[in-house]
């Protein structure tokens, strides 16, 4: 059940990339969340003006609700969260929200997670949940970023891969690649999907999150590969993220 507005204190802020920060929130009364859900943020200015937006929760169930926010050029709330806010500041949140784009070990796999940029946030909650619960569900995460510096959570993803429990990460860097880069260096196209995705007959569950054009092409590509449409769950952001 979604709560009413709750007072939340930023207890830690962590820079992930030049445009992205994670905010660790202490929210007394938070009812807990599932991996993949989001929460609403409400900010109030001194004259009473308010703005609300939704953000995916990055942390695993059972933990405090972290959010990871990318600053949008035309944003109203995201520049505040990604730049201005500091530990001790208070905002309001309500949630958790959404019961469709969620995954837990009981849902099984194999699991395919496909993210464009900050679309990785709700998928990271799933990856963290999987690791924290000791699940061995075979999981592949495909993350498309502009550059290596823009690859959100890249160190933690490498750590998750190193556990040797069936979690794999594939990066593609669409704009610029470091010297000696041997990975993918283009947008996620049908050929790349065919190489990375579990074969359709494996009965995989797919979660796709990113900008609309990314989600459109990836989800269509997966259906073309033979994925059951009902097992391809999508979440989009972009103009709605503000």
């Amino acid at each position: 059940m979604t709560t009413g507005w709750l007072a939340a204190e930023a207890v830690e802020v962590r820079r992930e990339t030049p445009r992205v920060r994670t905010i660790v929130l202490d929210v007394p009364g938070w009812p807990g969340h599932r991996a993949g859900q989001h929460l609403d943020v409400r900010l109030t200015a001194e004259d009473g003006y308010q703005a609300q937006r939704s953000y995916s929760i990055a942390s695993a169930p059972g933990e405090r609700p972290d959010i990871t926010v990318e600053e949008l050029d035309d944003g109203e709330v995201s520049p505040y969260l990604a730049e201005e806010l500091r530990p001790g500041d208070r905002i309001e949140v309500r949630g958790p929200i959404g019961g469709w784009f969620v995954w837990g070990p009981e849902d099984g796999g194999p699991l395919l997670l496909v993210a464009g940029g900050s679309g990785v946030v709700p998928l990271m909650a799933m990856a963290r949940h999987r690791a924290a619960s000791g699940s061995a569900v075979p999981t592949r995460l495909l993350l498309s970023s502009r550059t290596w510096e823009d690859a959100i959570y890249r160190d933690e993803l490498a750590d998750l891969t190193g556990r040797g429990d069936g979690f794999e990460v594939v990066h593609t860097l669409t704009r610029e690649q470091p010297d000696g880069w041997s990975g993918y260096a283009r947008r996620v196209d049908d050929e790349l999907l065919r190489e990375v995705a579990w074969p359709a007959h494996a009965g995989a569950r797919a979660y796709v999150c990113g900008p609309t054009s990314f989600v459109e092409s990836v989800s269509r590509g997966l259906v073309d590969l033979g994925y059951e449409p009902g097992k391809v769950k999508t979440e989009r952001f972009g103009p709605t993220g503000g």
């Binding site: 703005a51 937006r53 806010l85 459109e216 989800s219 391809v232 103009p239 709605t240």
Partner: protein, 200 residues
């Protein structure tokens, strides 16, 4: 009202004409897309629209549907993810027209769609010139990612009620939650009362 968040000033975007933008919404000029899964692509020669649950089933093929009287409507739309868009132009068939020849005493309808999506709407919110099955946007055929070939258009409720890829209405005596309504979203969804989620 909540407490002040230190250092937040807001960008004070255009707040729109008085009385047009519901609480908690902001205006956009774009047309964001939201959906739960892959966009279905149904061929028009396989497309039908069906009204079930009346004395007799009513069904139209695409050509029959397009031959029904259509209307041009200009309405404001409000998405639960907080964007609102004013003066959007649609072409479609009024739900009044579709229910005209259907004998029924139903109080609710469940719209069903390609891709398995459903949404529930009271009949009184679908009739009386308040709802359409739209196939055109801005004078062009409706894009698949925006719900084409046809979507429900119920602009006075949050936009998830305007189900994309709609294929019919099931008439019901009792209200029955649809897809988002079983996944945390409000049963009715009035943007002016901010009925976003369960319990609002």
């Amino acid at each position: 009202m909540g407490f002040v968040s230190r250092g937040f000033h807001g960008r004070r975007r255009d707040e729109g004409p008085e009385g047009r933008v519901p609480p908690g919404q902001y205006l956009t000029d774009g047309f964001p897309v939201l959906s739960a899964g892959p966009t279905p692509h149904t061929r028009l020669d396989e497309w039908t629209f069906t009204v079930e649950g009346g004395a007799e089933q009513a069904r139209w093929t695409w050509d029959e549907f397009r031959a029904l009287p259509s209307e041009d409507v200009t309405v404001d739309i409000h998405c639960v993810t907080r964007w609102s868009k004013l003066d959007t132009d649609w072409q479609g068939v009024s739900v009044d027209t579709l229910l005209d020849g259907v004998e029924h005493e139903a109080a609710y309808a469940l719209a069903f769609c390609d891709g398995g999506y459903t949404t529930n709407v009271p009949i009184e919110d679908l009739t009386g010139g308040k709802a359409w099955v739209a196939y055109g946007y801005d004078g062009e055929p409706l894009d698949p990612e925006h719900g084409g070939p046809a979507r429900l258009l119920v602009p006075h409720l949050y936009f998830w009620k305007s189900a994309k890829w709609v294929r019919g209405l099931q008439l019901l005596d009792d209200d029955e939650p649809g897809f988002w309504e079983t996944n945390g979203y409000h049963l009715y969804g009035d943007p002016w009362r901010e009925q976003r989620y369960w319990g609002d």
